[in-house]
Amino acid sequence: MDVVNATGEDRLEGLRMLVGSAAGVAARDGDLKAVRQLRFGRPGLDRGRWSEISAMGWLGLRLPEAAGGAGLGMAEYAALTGEVGAALLPEPFIEAQLALDLMGKDAPAEALSGDRLILPAWLDAPDGLTIAGDITEAEGRISGRRRFVPMAAAADAFLVVSSEACWLIDAKAAGLSLEIEDTVDGGHTATLILDGVEADRLSAPDAKALEAAALATASALLGIMERAFAITLDYLKTRVQFGQPIGHFQALQHRAVDMEIEIGLTRAVLHDAIEAFDAGDDCRRITSRAKARAADAAMLVTREAVQLHGAIGYTDEADIGLFLRRAMVLAPRYGSAGFHRQRYGSLTEGRP
């Protein structure tokens, strides 16, 4: 049976099992020591965990069964990125998935099995969801530039994307140089300079893959804020000042309620966006709503979480700050809130 078209309890049960199975690699309440150990290092991820993730079949999740995938939908995908987000895993699950989506039937088996990590390089501006142009091709070699490729130091290969084609290049190929910068969350991002790099030309990209990545990122942001909020609620109940838990102060109760409202709004719009995506509609407007809401809400919730922790929240050693810094990194990815508000506006123009 086609899972995406399955309805009601069957699909929900499947989702619950999927999320349950995720706990082994991406635990919502797991300790964050392992995450901390990988920060600011290269390659910055755990290849062992990457193998586990692929062994669970997550990488081919959305590919049709004929192409070696599981034929699952956006609901399943987003459920997993929510867990990965909450666990603060540094592994570029969404990026690897995007590369697979873009390659479709051309996706190499080693990529699906997790042995070869392929990361997409599609952006040349600091913001947006628009595939950059300006890749020149001559005699099977490409030249140009791509920026903001997350976790690039871990890649075995890159999928260079332009509006007319995708090219697969080896990470060690001659003519490819990487400029790597640390990001606040302890990961990194790279600029790829391509100067006559030998490349396998694949077909043109399907822009819908980027919509899926944006929704998956919105869901990761939701996971981040849910967990940051849970940690903060706990702190409000246990931190004592003036002889009582600080959660007894009405001023802080109201702040917690406002955070909960933001989380509820994000969950609601994300739910609708995922449903529209799986129904095969043109879901760009609602994807923009979901990504804009998730980005803003995650920043608000994690900022407030730090504030409600007081000075300890401003330290590197307190876990709550890890959530703020990951939110800072994911909020602009696949289009910032500002970008998506603008896009929503231009897609809405002329509509009744």
Binding site: L123, R147, D182, T183, Q241, F249, A251, R333
Partner: protein
């Protein structure tokens, strides 16, 4: 007052209070432009003592380190209005914040409550930069509720023995001395049994561990006291009077927590970021709105500064200034993240624009609503003491 006589030496300048405000401002502006170390202009992070020392020494040699202290103690004895001008000009030029706890807190404390011997010993060392001070108030379980502090000081013979722990001590790893609030009467009501002590950081039993902040800077520290023995005369003021003394210290300084400086710096950063992205025009309305809010805050600041200029004491309503300053600063920092896109995710400077570090500006704006009395606590103060809404 033999003790103070020895402090009158470094006064190379005439009484600047005699200048008109306009002339004074021009003189100060010119002097800063000539003397300020260029490599320390608008630093991206709070400087450590060693980094700030060149500027500390320049001010020290000029006799301008302690503008608010009376001239008899080696200060400039500036009137409040001149002092505000000096501070404004330094902020305007992007002068780095000094490790200034000695100047802003210990000096005024000793001038008001210290003994002649304490003044004679400590003030010259602050003025020369020989001793950097840090503030030991907060504890793990005494933050907003400072009066709950548990660090104890027990009298044994001619010594005090201190045990306990302080935390969030800004630049604690750089300091040679710390001033400490400690409990001297565990039986008394919370605020009544606290005393004020001066402790050399190299006393046996003092351990400092630096703490890394969320922007990965070792800005503050934990300080542990394990049977730390200090002489009987290391107390400031009377036994069990520490709370009152500490409260009095929070006078004039509260104005500076509301200074528009941080918001101004952040808005400048946002404008330069827009220029870098070639989007100044796209964000014109945002920038204008924030500029207007900043100007409004400056007007608000001026109403409080005018009180200080007239020599009035600031009331609890000055808390509103700090609330608004940190809110505006954080709002601008939030917009910086909105505009920066992927550039805001970088841990350091933007590679091709090293004066831009949007992620750091955002992170550094976080604690302004926490330190110096959190925005929640300031709102409680205004609600109770200004609006009369307390129980």
């Amino acid at each position: 007052m033999t003790a103070t006589a020895s402090l009158t030496a470094p006064q190379p300048h005439a009484d600047l209070n005699l200048l008109s405000d306009t002339d004074f401002r021009a003189a100060v502006r010119g002097w800063i432009a000539t003397n300020y170390p260029q490599d320390l202009r608008s630093p991206p992070k709070r400087l450590h003592a060693a980094e700030a020392m060149p500027w500390y020494k320049i001010l020290s040699q000029q006799g301008w380190l302690a503008p608010g202290w009376p001239r008899e103690y080696g200060g400039m004895g500036l009137t409040p209005s001149k002092l505000l001008i000096l501070i404004e000009e330094m902020e305007r030029y992007g002068c780095a914040r000094l490790p200034d706890t000695g100047v802003t807190m210990v000096g005024p404390l000793l001038i008001a409550h210290g003994t002649d011997a304490q003044r004679a010993y400590h003030l010259p060392k602050i003025l020369s930069g020989e001793v950097i001070w840090c503030q030991g108030y907060s504890e793990p379980n005494a933050g907003s509720d400072l009066a709950a502090l548990r660090t104890s000081a027990v009298r044994e013979g001619d010594q005090w023995v201190i045990n306990g722990q302080k935390v969030w001590t800004t630049l604690g790893m750089d300091a040679q001395w710390i001033f400490v609030l400690a409990r001297t009467n565990p039986q008394a009501a919370k605020q009544k049994g606290i005393s004020f002590f001066l402790v050399p950081m190299d006393t046996p039993g003092v351990t400092v561990r630096s703490i890394i902040n969320i922007d990965l800077h070792d800005e503050f520290a934990e300080v542990f006291f394990d049977d730390v023995r200090i002489p009987a005369d290391a107390i400031v003021g009377a036994v069990n009077e520490g709370w009152t003394i500490a409260k009095n210290l929070l006078g004039f300084e509260r104005l500076f927590l509301g200074s528009p400086k941080q918001s101004e710096g952040a808005l400048d950063h946002l404008e330069r970021l827009c220029d870098h992205l070639g989007k100044r025009g796209d964000y014109a309305s945002l920038l204008n709105g924030l500029r207007m809010e900043l100007e409004d805050h400056k007007s608000f600041y001026t109403t409080f500064a005018d009180k200080v200029r007239r020599g009035d004491t600031l009331g609890p309503d000055v808390s509103m200034l700090k609330i608004n300053q940190s809110a505006l600063y954080q709002k601008i920092a939030d917009r910086i993240m909105d505009v920066a896109g992927e550039l805001g995710t970088l841990a350091g400077q933007v590679p091709d624009a090293p004066t831009l570090y949007p992620g750091s500006v955002f992170l550094q704006a976080r604690p302004t609503s926490i330190y110096g009395g959190s925005s929640e606590i300031q709102r409680n103060i205004v609600a109770r003491q200004v609006l009369g809404l307390g129980r």
